[in-house]
Every structure is written in C-alpha cells, then in structure tokens.
Assembly symmetry: D2
Homo-oligomer: 382 residues x 4
C-alpha cells in the first residue's frame, strides 16, 4: 500500500476536492464584517437549485442529526401526532428524536433494504387523519435505498394537511430534488456527503406552509430555532457564529457544481450507481436493494457466501480502501460503497477493481475484470 | 494596504496558526474507523488541563451558543428556578436561552463593563434558596470583563445546592481555569477564540454533581444530549458525525499549546492584556473596564471624544485591521480589541501602532509612539 | 468528467502526495539560519540509500537538464573524448550538451525502444581507448527502456579509466540503485519524477574517482560547479539560495519512502510495470520495449492500428487522464504511461480501465475488463 | 514567543502571501500540455511592466545566481573585456562568475555601503574603450544600496557600445524599473525577494542589442542558453521542465501586484524604506547607507555601540524576528532589515517596535516608542 494514499468510499464523509481544500484555507475573517456578508450573499441563491426550491436554505453549524432535530423541533408542536417512515437506521433516528421530544410517534417499519411504498403511507394516513407531520428519508444511508419522495409527497398532500419532512442528508447535491414542485415541506442535508465538504454544516429549507407552522410553534428551542436563521439571513448573516472555513469551502463547492452543471452532476451519480450495481451483478455479489429503489449515492451489498467484515478489513489493509459496514440490525451483514460527491466513474472503476481483488484475497471465487467490464459497459452505453 | 494582508483583532474568530491550517488539510477519513478513534483518543486527555478538570470534555459540532444551550437543556430541569448573572450580551444570551426553555429565570443585571461582585450573588441566593442553577460568564466577550469565577463558585456552593454553569467561550485556552478545584459544574467553550480554530466546535465539561443531574434530567433533548456524547466518548467516538477537519486542527492546536506550555500561554495572555491597557492609558483612550476585572483575551475601549465606528472603519480600510464594535446597548459606544489565541505581544505592539495611526487619521490628538512605548515597557518589565 | 479531478500519468511531473503538499506550505524561513541547516542536515543522509551511495548527494535548484549539464561540465575536461550512449531523446540531450561544450563526442546510437547491450559499449571502448567519460541513461524516459547500468559499469571499468555518468532522472527513487557497488561515477536525478515533488530540484552524486577529476577540472563553471555545493554541504548549507519550499517537501518525501520502506517502494514500481505490461499484452496493444528492458517507471505503447494522438486526446477530454506522447522521432508514434512516485497498483488498475474505455471510444475493438484482469492477476500472484 | 509565529525580515527569502501559498498547491499538471501553455501565456505579458520592458522575460528554474551566470555566459564572449562595478557581495559575485569564465575582468571597487557614482564608470570606460559589457547591481542586497541605474545606463551608452547588465535580484518587483527607457541590456531577478515566492526561479530579460550579441555568441552553454528559452517561449513553453508549482504561485503574485497596482507597490516600498530609516535615525542607530542611495527593499544598520550578532540572536530567540547579518567584509559589522514583497508599513511598525525592545534587551539605552513614532510620522505625512 502506498503511504499517504486512501480511497474513502463510504457514504460520507466523502473526499474533499483539492480546490475546496484550498478554499477552506482562506485567511480567517470576522463573522460580522462585510467579507462574511459577501460570502453568505454569494452562497445563498446558489443553494436553492440544489434543493429545488425558491425558499432560502438555512445553513447551521452542526452535524446532519442537528438538521433532523431542527426539523422536529420546528415543525412538530408539543403533543403532535407524527408519522415516521423507517426504512433504515436514519429513519430510526427520526423516531428517536420524535420520541425524545415526546411526540405521539407512529411508525411505519419497512424491511431494511426496501423502499417504502407510497400506498403504505396513504393507507396509514387514512387511518390516522390526525397526523400532523410525516418524517421520511430520501436516501436511507444505511441501506442505499432511495425512497420515492415525489410519490410520497403526492399521497401525503392528497390525504392530509400533514407536513412532509425529508431527510436528504446522504443524497442532496447528487440527485434531482424538486422540493417546491413535489411538495416537500422541510428538506435537510449535511455537508459531508454529496456536498463534498468536511462534516460540520447542516442545511435546512422549509416551504411556506412549513414556515407558517414554524413561526407559530410554541415549542422551546434556541440554537435550532429556524426563524432566527431566517431573520438573520435577510441581512446575509447568521444568528450565531457561522463555521466560516466550511462556508469558504461551500462557496467553491458551488463553483464546482456549476462548472460541471448540476444536471450533469445528477447524471454522474446515476451513472455511478448503475456502474456499481452492474459490476456487482456481474460478479455475483448480491445487492441489498432492488434496481428500482437503489440510491445514486450509495450501494449496499449483502454477501451470501463471504464475511463482509473480513472483506472490509482486507481491502482497508491491503489497498487503503475504506468501505462502510452495516448499522444496527444490518451490522456485520452488509457493506456499503459510497459513490457521491467528489467521486467519478473513473473512481468507481478503481473501486470495482479493488473489490474484485479483495474478494479474491478472502478466498471467494471471482472472475477478475468481470465487474470492471460490466461497469465499463454501462459507462460506454450510457 | 497590502493585498492579501489582514489583521484580525476581534474577540473571535481569531487567526488560524499556519500549522493548524495545514493540519486541517489532512486527507478526509471515515468517522467510524480506527483513524478517527485514534484522533479522538489523542485529543481527549489533552483538553482536560485546559479546562482544569479530570472530567472528560465533550466536543460537539456547533457554535458556542450550541454549547450554552447544551448546558441549559442538560442541567436545568423543566420549571427549575435559575439565576442568570448578566454582565453583557453573552450573559443576556443565557437569559434568552433559559427563557426560551421557560425556566423561572432570575436575573442579576450588572452594569455592562463591570464584573459581578460575588456578594451580589451571595445575597441573591440567600433570598432565593430554591434556585437550582446559576449561569454566569467567565469572560464577557461584549465588554472584556473577566468575572471572578473562583469566588463566585465559592459563594454558590457555600449557600446552596445550585449548580454553577460558566460560559468560558471567549477565554478558555487563554486563562487559567481550575474547574474541579473551584467547583465549576459546567464549563463551556468554543473553537474560534483562544483555541485558534475556525468556528464550528463547542466544548462542554461537567462535574460529577452535574452529571448526576444531567442523567436524571427528563427534559427532551437529542443532538445536545450530553449523555450521548459521554457514552460514545468512552469508545473514543461520537454519537453523531464529528467535524473531522476541525478535530484534525484541534490536535495540532494542542501540540502548539503543549509546545509553548499552557502556563506560558496563560502568562502571554495576561501580558497582552497589560500591554494593551497600558497603551490605552498612555494614549488617554478610556477603557471600559477596570484593571481588576479586565479579561486577558479582549479589551474594550469607550472613546470619550471620537466616534468608535468611524475609527473602526478607518483602520479597517487603511490598514486591514479588523476591530470589533459594541453589541446591543454598547453598539456604537465602544470598540473591542481581541488579543487571544494565535496572537503575540509582537502583534499587540503592531495593533497599538495602528491604533495610534488610526486615532491620528480621524483627527484625534495623539502622541505617536506613546502607546507602543507603554506596551513595550510592560513587556520589558514583566 | 468530474470538475477538479485529473489523473496525471505521465513520466513526470508526477502527482504530489497530500502530505508533501502540506509540508511545502511550511512558513518560509531564512536560508542561512539554523532552521535551514537543520533541514539540510535532516535530508542529507537520507538521500544516500536512494542513490545507493555513501557519497553526499548534491541538491541543486534547477531542472533535470541542469543536472545533466552539471555532470558534463564537472567531469568532462575541455577537449576530452567522450562517449554518449543514445537510446532515446534524453540520451540525445547528453549528446547536445557535450557538443555544446565542444567535446569530442562519440555516439552509440541504439534504436529507440531498445536498451544498449553492454557488449556494444565494450567493443566501442576497445576501439577508442582515449574516451574519458561515458554518458548513459538509466531509464530512458522517452522510450521506457531501463538500460543495464550494472553491466555497463562493469564493462566500462574493466576496459578503461573512463568515468561513467548516468542520467537517472526518470527512475531514481523508484528502482534499485547501487551506485557505489556497481561503480557509477556520477548519478543524476530530478525532483518531479519518482521523488514525488514538483520540478525544480536536480540531484547529483559523484564517486571518489569522479570527485578527483571534478576538482582538477579547469573548465569554467560557476552555478553548476559541484565543488561549491560539496564545500557548503559540509556545513549543511548551499552555495546559492536553495529552493526551500521544495526542500520542505523533500523532507516529507523521505519520510514517506522510509515509512513504506525503500525496498517496498522498489517492489511497488516493479509490480506496476508488470501490471501495466500484462494489461497491454492482454489487450493486444503493442509495447515498444521488451520485458527484459522495460523500466519500472514508465511504459511506452506503440499502437499498430490506432492513432496514439487521437487516443491521448480522447482520454484527456473524457476522463481527465493525461498520458505522454512520443518525442522527436517517436512523436505521434507512441504514447507513454507513467507509473512512478505517488502512484499505486490501485492507480494502475484505474489507468488500465480508462485505457480500455479510451480504446473503445476511438473505435478499437477491445474486450473490456481484460486488461484490468491481467493486471489484477499480476498483482495477486506477485 | 508564540509557537508557530515567525517574522522573516531579511532581504530574501521573504514571506509568502497566503493566496500565493494556496495557488502553489494546485494539482500538478503535465508540463507539455495545454494547461501549462495557458499558464505561461497568462504570465508572459504581465512580467514585462515589472521589468519595464517590451521584451519577453525568460523564467528559468534556478537560484538568482543562475540568472547572473545566464547574463555572463550569454552576453560576454570569450576573452571579452568586461567591467564589474562592485558595491558589495553581489557585485563581487559577478566578478567571481566573470573570472570563472576567464573574462578580462576590470573592477571598480566602491566602498561597501556606498553607491557607485556614474562618473566613476564614465571615467573608467573612457580609459578602457574596449570593454564590451558592464555588470552592475541595482539593489546591492549586502549593503542596502540602490545604484543609480538610469544614470549609469546613460553614461555607458554615451561612451561605448558596451552592454549594460543589471542584477536586480533584490529589488525588481519593489522598485520602478524602466529597462527599455533607461537602456538596460540585461536585467535579472529572482523569485524569493520582492516577487513574494519561494526561491527557485530566476528571471532574465534582454534588450534587442543584447539579443543580437547573445545569438552570435559562440560561448558553450546549454541549460542557461537564453536563446533556447526565447525560442520555446514563442510557443508559450520552456526548453526544460519548468518549476510548475512556482509558476502557479507566480500567476497569483501577478494578480496581487495588479490588484494593488504596480505603482502603488513601488510607493509602498519607498514608504517602508523611509519609515525604517526615520526610525533608526530617531533611535540613534547608525545607517550604513545615505538617504540618497538607500534601497526601498532593504536597510542596513551599522551599530556603533552594540554587537549586531548578539542583537540578531536576541530578537530571534525572544520574538522570532529574523534579521540578516552582514556578508563577507561586513560580517559581524552590520545587520539588515528586509522590507520588500509581502511586507506592509504595518509590518515595518512591528519590526521597529521589536527592534526597540531588542536594543533594550541587550542593554543599549533606547527611548521606547521613539522609532515607531518616527516611522508613523513618515507614514502619516506621506
């Protein structure tokens, strides 16, 4: 293994582009001066197309979970009935947050590895018309499922006045998102996934309907009070000291996305998904999710005949390739390949080639080059 | 003014040392792998002497205000009576957080620019024995006052069972702190002040007594639930994705502090305070605070005969020198010079020399070099 | 193509490891102070094993060609008869330098793509016993041939008193070099190849025999006077201002080499050569050089049935993959893949996978994955 | 002393601006591809105004001395009579190079610390009409003298056909240079002085008259053959691998100079000189040079009543302030303060304040603040 070389192929944190790294090194500035205002003003409008909204996107210093909690404490009023759609461990996190806040929490448990079917939500809401908020996950990081948000939004709004909150942490920036058009009320993401930054920022946008609820919501909250952020954003500022080095980087991330073209970015992620999946199929390595429900940003593999932890350890030690394991009920049962953010089809080919060698190393019969060939074919025939 | 040169002399964010900048550029790693564990394990014990505690210091991704809120939501139980000692705008922030959480909030309002006298707290607690938590500020950033925490702790514990929460955001890392010895129950700081990092991390340590309350506290909380951080820290991990690039930097910050020696760091801050104050006195520029109550990390100046905003604008435009203005009731009435973190006595001399020139520029009669001479004398006679 | 992603796979300049990049960012220092002395002292002994010598290695600010000229002007006395072994464009450069200095220049012209046979040199020296210096190339960058320096040295020293000068620019740091044991008199390299730095440094070591000639050589020279460097190196200094940022980087390069182990570095380069060659063979892409003479650092491909320039342009535009073209008589006829320095077997697999796709793109029939599979097999069976 | 803080105030190497540092971190590129062409094309026209010429400026990888030698070997033909004007150690270096190349070297020795008087050259050339090249120094780094190049050029061209070669290493980029207008035939500089880069590049421009001589000059030379650089520059390329990371930085240096405005840069250097000198006078610290001959980039101080080496050691150890000592005959007798490149009037004030404290520390009686006051007065009355 080459000293100082690492291949980080997990569903976040993801590698930082060199120009973003350089941007984060800019000389520190005061957070209340003109330079900071200019920076925020420059970032502000350019986040909107990535979320697919005309609303402002709030940027909060904190992990993605802080963003999830922001949604809960701002849109769910005390004693509200809420519905959480759990398709994996990050859906489960919504449950935990809702329960921590003593909401009347309904849960739709979907087998991990599957997407929720909008009909399930439809049926549930029919039975429970008093539900005020539906919490769901766009890309479920823990399984690599991309839930059908557009369709979910459609059934939610058809049947109820409930707000739809979507955790987009592990896909926004890598998939098409039409928050306004689809009718998503709150959309959350984090910096360390498709947005190519270190962890430390979470992003939250809310619909007009959601803002109305937020502003009337009597629930105690302070640091995560979305209204404070909105108020200050009108002056291109923040209520609390912003994580400026990450904002320096975010500005350059937006440059990179615009240089490539956001629709091209989305296509690239779709392509990387298809390449990864075709490779796995060609190699006879079982995928956790179906083609229809697979996320463009992360692919989960559920080995039938080898030990995923031994495999992960092998590729880490021998090639410096970091893959993610399973979480909670999937711990030890799956591994996950991230292909988002600063990752290219060329990187996917490299990852597949290392996957093949890792399989060989742990004794699995594998036809070398077959996965790569399948991925190449996908690329060439796109 | 030299292109690409800035002198950031505000009480946070502060300049980043070059070696810390480089450290933050380390190749991104997985947050659940061995590298992250090693990093956290390396940082963990070295934060303790800076806080002056044998307890673990929790590191949370968020602004300093998230740290303040962490204290409130973890130690104050619903309906608790609490006392907030307000000596400036950050004491006021504690009030706002307590009120947001509907605590029965008592307030001791100290004129801004003065320190609280422990006797005031003593008297108040005698009258209100049901107070469960006292919130106070170590260095009040908005005025440059350093409140007498040791003495405060003494009266608090003598009189009551109340927990003492201390906001140390703008001084921890630059002043002596003996949390355990003094009897501070919760001590909070942030990354972007004396700790020489970009904003984005807040640090919270709690005493054994505080932990007992925290663990029994039924108040809803999730992202800021201190117990989650403590539990995960036992495995050198974090409950939510940590802001890894800042942790890379923190590791190097600790190297720098240890290289200089923490007691030397403390002396350097004391010296910078004395240099700055002597210079102001020599120049006839009125200080907001008394010598006895002045903070080693920030000095507030209350001009009698010139416009502080015009002055700040002048030195910014002509020399690239960023000073802080006043906040809230002090807005437009004072300006503040930060001298903490990656700042040396040599930098103070430079700042004073620019201060003199700025005063001249706005038409104030000033004997050039007199402030510098006074600061030099302090340095040389230390 | 992903914005901000480039794959630089030419035989120099080569990619810079991230930790070397960071090291080069160290705060500038005086070149005559203790810090500079410490730096040079730290570098000095650690260059020797890479050259395979007990002699000091001089570090000169300049391109590799400055190093070649250093050899010529220091060891060849005016009017000397010298022999240049030309196996490609860098052998040719030696000829040009020798001719510029009006030496009586004999040339052995070896067909480009072949290595010289020691017997050729043996025969030539027998016929021309008055030859004082033999100039030869270790790795001929322009063809990817590694000339048999050990055997060449053996015949040279057996037959004559001639000094043997070896251009190791495109291989030292990636291949075994036993300068002292083999009897190489002057060995030269550059920073931007296997030594993983930007261009700007050239390195020259000389044997005791060579030093004797150098010191008595009356030829005018100043900046490239090797004796000046040797004299100053005794005090861990340089005669002229050194390129300090590159020396900062060099120090870290040596750390990386030592961390991996230099013999492991050599094995890695050998492996990357074998992987690349096996892949080309599997794909039916003709190699310019034979297995016996191929360099571990660069592989030249001589396409029979496709246009190498069109191919290079295609992979550059579509994948950001930079390959080198042919030089001089090989211009437009070959392309070259660099696999040296900060390049791993994993990078080779990626390069091969892109090579396959590039071939497909320009219309060549290619069995996708076959080259990758061959390279993987080499890796796994090493 | 603050860990990780250094004040580098020597006449080169000089501090690197942060944005230049970042620019040098750009991902490495091939030196023969379009990116390199674009880079060179972007740099090429922007160097000309800094030299004050319509001619191309050649950029060569090497130290400043390589640039001096480039001048010698390109314009002086074998056996030429040449005149070297020696006003310090870098004039002396020209002598050594000329003598190394066995030129008939005439020398005008000017006492170190004084500028040459054009009349001296006039008289000399009258007596020696066969002199073909006059070598002189613009800013003599070792003494801080700025020789009157305009006047020298005038007498040289009035009296003879000799070419005028000027070593501008330690001032070009910080002083006005009108190469074409004044009639300078060869002008040389280096990267690590007023051009704010690490060492490793030297720059050479030649007049039309000089090019004529260069092209007909039969002297052997190769790496430093200026014609090779000129030829390749027509294609925005270089004959040998360029030091790309430094070129990345150079591009940003030119941005910074243009942002400030080159005439402003020149004024800033003039101002820094006057500030430094006034401070020294106010402090009773004797200057080596007269006001009329002092360079805007470096000031030499010749202490009457204290030990300059002890002083330098003291300020280095206590404040991290690096000053330069004397060279050759001035060793131990003077010290030098650099104020060029990435240095501002604010930095000069800081340096003066540390100078005062250093003088105090070594026991010299000094009125604190007096030097700073004098420097401030210069700044404010400009």
């Amino acid at each position: 293994m080459l000293a100082d070389q690492q291949f980080l192929r997990i569903p976040g944190p993801t590698p930082i582009p060199p120009s973003v790294q350089r941007a984060m090194n800019q000389t520190m500035i005061g957070h209340r001066g003109q330079e900071a205002k200019d920076l925020i003003q420059n970032i502000r409008p350019r986040l909107k197309p990535i979320f697919g909204t005309g609303q402002d996107v709030m940027v909060i210093a904190g992990s993605g979970t802080a963003g999830l909690e922001t949604a809960v404490v701002n849109v769910a009023q005390p004693n509200d009935e809420v519905l959480v759609v759990v398709t994996g461990s990050f859906g489960d996190r919504f449950t935990k947050i809702c329960e921590a806040y003593q909401l009347q929490t309904h849960i739709i448990n979907v087998p991990w590895g599957e997407a929720v079917q909008p009909e399930q939500i439809e049926a549930y809401l029919k039975q429970h018309p008093s539900i005020k908020v539906v919490f769901t996950t766009f890309c479920e990081t823990s399984t690599g499922v991309l839930n059908p948000i557009k369709e979910i939004a459609s059934v939610v709004h058809q049947l109820s006045e409930a707000l739809l909150v979507v955790d987009g942490v592990s896909c926004i920036g890598g998939v098409e998102s039409r928050m306004d058009e689809w009718g998503v009320d709150v959309l959350i993401t984090g910096s360390q996934k498709a947005l190519m930054l270190p962890a430390g920022l979470t992003f939250v946008a809310a619909s007009e309907r959601a803002w109305k609820v937020i502003k009337e919501n009597p629930r105690p909250r302070f640091y995560l009070n979305l209204s404070s952020y909105q108020n200050k954003l009108q002056e291109d500022s923040t209520p609390f000291t912003p994580a400026l080095s990450l904002l320096f980087g975010l500005d350059q991330v937006l440059n990179l996305i615009e240089e490539e073209g956001f629709s091209e970015v989305v296509k690239r992620h779709e392509l990387m998904k298809n390449m990864t999946r075709s490779a796995c199929k060609a190699l006879g390595v079982p995928l956790l999710t179906s083609d229809e429900t697979a996320s463009p940003t992360v692919t989960a593999i559920k080995p039938g005949d080898f030990d995923s932890e031994q495999f992960r350890k092998t590729v880490k030690q021998e090639f410096g390739l970091t893959l993610a394991g399973g979480q909670q009920q999937l711990k030890g049962k799956i591994f996950r390949i991230g292909h988002m953010g600063y990752t290219s089809p060329s990187d996917v080919l490299q990852t597949i080639s290392l996957l093949e060698m890792g399989l060989y190393r742990i004794g699995k019969e594998v036809e070398l080059g077959k996965g790569v060939a399948a991925a190449q074919a996908v690329y060439l025939n796109q």
